[in-house]
């Protein structure tokens, strides 16, 4: 039976056509994946369903009845609920207070949680959604916050539950847990729409998939009949290489070595060796010392103890600039924070950090800068009107290509790379992965931090897992399964001690 039909939905934000006659049809009691690249319009489409945005044109049918939804309140009364990418909980209230908020019962004017509490706990147990009802929300981890959001939605009587990129904040184990919950909900005949841009997840959980591209529905496909290649093609509009081919590269000598690096509580006794022609991947849930480790390596933070050797020379007292000149290139985790200057135009960002190479007696050599910037833009396939365009006009993928290209172009020896493909579309991911491997093939030594386990596994020669500021395990990339990495990332150790080759 058809639970939801949205047809011909269009929505403009000023000049931006977020949705252009998009369609989605969802059956009662199914898990439906809404798949598309960043900016495809997935969130916007669902926000229209949830009454946050109003469609410019188009119709919405619930159980065959035409409806108009002008506010989330109306949506909730129609049994539609949405869990956002950024949670909407109130940090200094307890879990239970957050869930009940808006549906409080009162006995003679006094709040009483009795009935509701029972109902909530019953929900939690039945679906395996573990929560601690009396903890303050600000003190619980992200995974639990998400469970709270889901219970809150169900408590309000959700029949259609929308989840916006729910796995983005979870470890692989938590993803598995979440999927179990979704299946339990499905068994209770709830309808679930899960927004994602990850192919594997879609294949694993969904019954049907609707693919959006540029605000248009590209098609609907039964998950059983889909392959990652088909879905990627629908998402991007051309065929995409999902698995990167990794050539064998002869490892060179050790070029970068960390010895017992510690930084307050953030880093504890980190030691590793990095060879030329090698990619060392750091896996870990975000916030376990990745940022601090990279910033310590490039000189933005001073470790409390320990040494960093570059070509056997201790560089612990060298400035960021000195390390950069020595050949340590840095691609920071957030391109808008430490990576690019959004108010600058493209050529100005092309030379950032390398401006010393484009000057004579302190005066910028503009003709050389323009020439090299044009080459850089061509070389790294950055789609832009030209080097004089503002950097803020670039799409996420092209901005990331600019950031990566800037560092690669100036031929570093060691690359410190964080989240190279975050918020970037599938096509650009493919391209960036190839470029990273090309650097490896040239004998560059690479440190890679990523929240994306697939990325780490695909690119790295060796993997180290960071947990609470320590390396809990290190070994060759193919010696770990995804599950094992997940366990280490969550702070657990494997039951049998495992011999990891290097």
């Amino acid at each position: 039976m058809e639970a939801l039909r949205m047809t011909n939905i269009s929505k403009n934000f000023g000049q931006v056509k977020a949705l252009n006659r998009a369609e989605i049809v969802v059956n009662k009691g199914e898990i439906h994946s809404l798949l598309g690249e960043n900016g495809a319009g997935k969130t916007t489409l669902m926000k229209i369903l949830y009454g946050i945005h109003q469609e410019d044109e188009g119709q919405i049918f619930l159980n065959g009845q035409k409806v108009t939804i002008s506010s989330p309140k109306e949506a909730i009364s129609l049994g539609i609920n949405m869990v956002f990418q950024h949670f909407m909980l109130i940090p200094n209230l307890t879990v239970m207070e957050n869930i009940i908020l808006g549906k409080e019962e009162a006995k003679m004017g006094v709040l009483s949680y009795g009935e509701s509490r029972k109902k909530v706990m019953e929900l939690s147990e039945r679906l395996g959604l573990k929560i601690r009802p009396d903890m303050k929300v600000e003190d619980i981890p992200v995974g639990e916050k998400q469970r709270v959001e889901i219970i809150k939605a169900l408590f309000r009587g959700a029949e259609i539950l929308i989840l916006d990129e729910p796995t983005a904040v979870l470890t692989p184990q938590e993803v598995t847990e979440l999927f179990k919950v979704l299946k339990a909900l499905k068994a209770e005949n709830k309808t679930i729409i899960i927004i994602t841009h990850k192919l594997k997840e879609t294949m694993a959980i969904a019954d049907n998939v609707t693919v959006l591209r540029n605000g248009k529905t590209q098609g609907v496909i039964e998950a059983k009949k889909a392959t990652p290649e088909i879905l990627a093609q629908m998402m991007v509009g051309r065929s995409v290489m999902l698995e990167v081919e990794k050539d064998k590269v002869e490892k060179g000598q050790v070029i970068l070595e960390a010895k017992n690096l510690s930084l307050g509580n953030n880093l504890k006794n980190i030691s590793f060796k990095l060879h030329e022609g090698e990619i060392l991947g750091f896996a870990g849930v975000e916030g376990n010392g990745q940022t601090e480790l990279l910033e310590t390596l490039v000189g933005l933070q001073m470790p409390t103890s320990g040494d960093i050797l570059y070509n056997k020379q201790n560089i612990i007292n060298h400035s960021v600039k000195e390390r950069l000149i020595m050949g340590i290139g840095f691609i920071p985790e957030d391109r808008n924070d430490r990576g690019l200057i959004s108010n600058f135009n493209i050529w100005q960002n092309c030379i950032l950090g390398y401006q010393d190479r484009y000057q004579k007696n302190g005066i910028l050599n503009l003709s050389a800068i323009y020439k090299e910037s044009k080459k850089l833009v061509d070389r790294y396939q950055i789609k832009t009107e030209g080097i004089f365009s503002p950097t803020s006009s670039l799409s996420g993928g092209n901005a990331q290509k600019l950031l990566v290209g800037r560092v690669f172009y100036h031929s570093p020896q060691v690359l410190i790379i964080a989240h190279p493909t975050r918020g970037v579309d599938v096509g650009a991911i493919e391209y960036l992965h190839q470029e990273i491997l090309a650097m490896r093939a040239q004998g560059k030594a690479i440190i890679l931090v990523s929240a994306d386990l697939d990325e780490i596994k695909q690119l790295s020669d060796r993997i180290a897992v960071l947990y609470e500021g320590s390396i809990v395990v290190e070994g060759s990339a193919h010696s770990f399964s995804e599950e094992e990495l997940g366990i280490y990332m969550a702070g657990g150790a494997l039951k049998e001690s495992k011999v990891v080759g290097s």
Binding site: V298, L300, V320, K321, L324, Q355, G362, L364
Partner: protein
Amino acid sequence: MKFWKKAANLVLRFVLALVASGIILYLSGYSPLKAYKAMFWGAISNWDGIALSLVQATPLIFTGLAVAFANNCGIFNIGGEGQLYLGAIAAGIIGAFLPSMPHFLHLFLALAGGAVVGGLWASIAAWLKVKANANEVIITIMLNNISILLCSYLVNYVFKAPGPVPQTPEVQPSASLSRLGTGTQLSTALFLGVLLVFAVWFILYRTKVGYEIRAVGANPRAAAAAGINVPGMMTLALFLSGSLAGLGGASQVLGLHGRFIQGFSPGYGFDGIAVAILGGNSPIGVLFSALLFGLMRAGGMVLDRTTKIPVDFVLIIQAAIILFVAAPDIFKSLKGGVKGARSVAK
């Protein structure tokens, strides 16, 4: 396209400011049209008016450049007034008390003295910002009072010329900026100001240091990650900003008054903020907005002479212009400052 949109927006805001102050004038019983005519026509219709406008614009070029320069590094320098005072008194002392020497040397020393003293004074704020992450807005405001009072002390007790007026002795001719003709107050200070406009433009847009200063101003965290010495650039930018304001004071002393006089500035340093923001923090923009402000000041003086409308009316127009034209941007940059975009990035 974007440029024209911006320009149209600016003109619209400017017209709104004139309308708003016109309404106030009308409600006070004067004819706004007559007032505007007397004012603008008086300031541009004859050589005297034009000269007066340029004289009034000259110090604003310096202080506007000072504020704009610091702003390019993400620093809000409200201390222009204090830096201007110290630059003025330094130039006055060097100009009056040094033994006689060749013209260019003496003039150079007096100007350089004003620039260095103004720059060093501003560097106090830079130092506190870098060392203690103090907010430069508050520091520079407080330094204003200290410096103006310090100048009062110096001119009343240490370097006072004989007579009832608190002023330093007259600057020797060898240290003066020459007048552009007899009977005019215009001096080569104007040329110095215009020269500085181009110098500042060159530094900001054509040199490596300028590039780094603007990188720090636009995104200090990205600048730090690119190996740029963020505290160093902030200190340098504030020093140069203070130097520009100091030069403004020095040029008033050496070109216009011929000596340091207590209370000589009617707030040039503060007007520099409005000038810089109206000029979009670009050196060329500062030149034009300084000319506009100078024109209004001169127009106000004409108004005072030729009509019954009180000269204070010009202050109302200025206030309206600041409110309509510059305040939105001031507010934006203040908000940015508070949010910590301007704190010293690690």
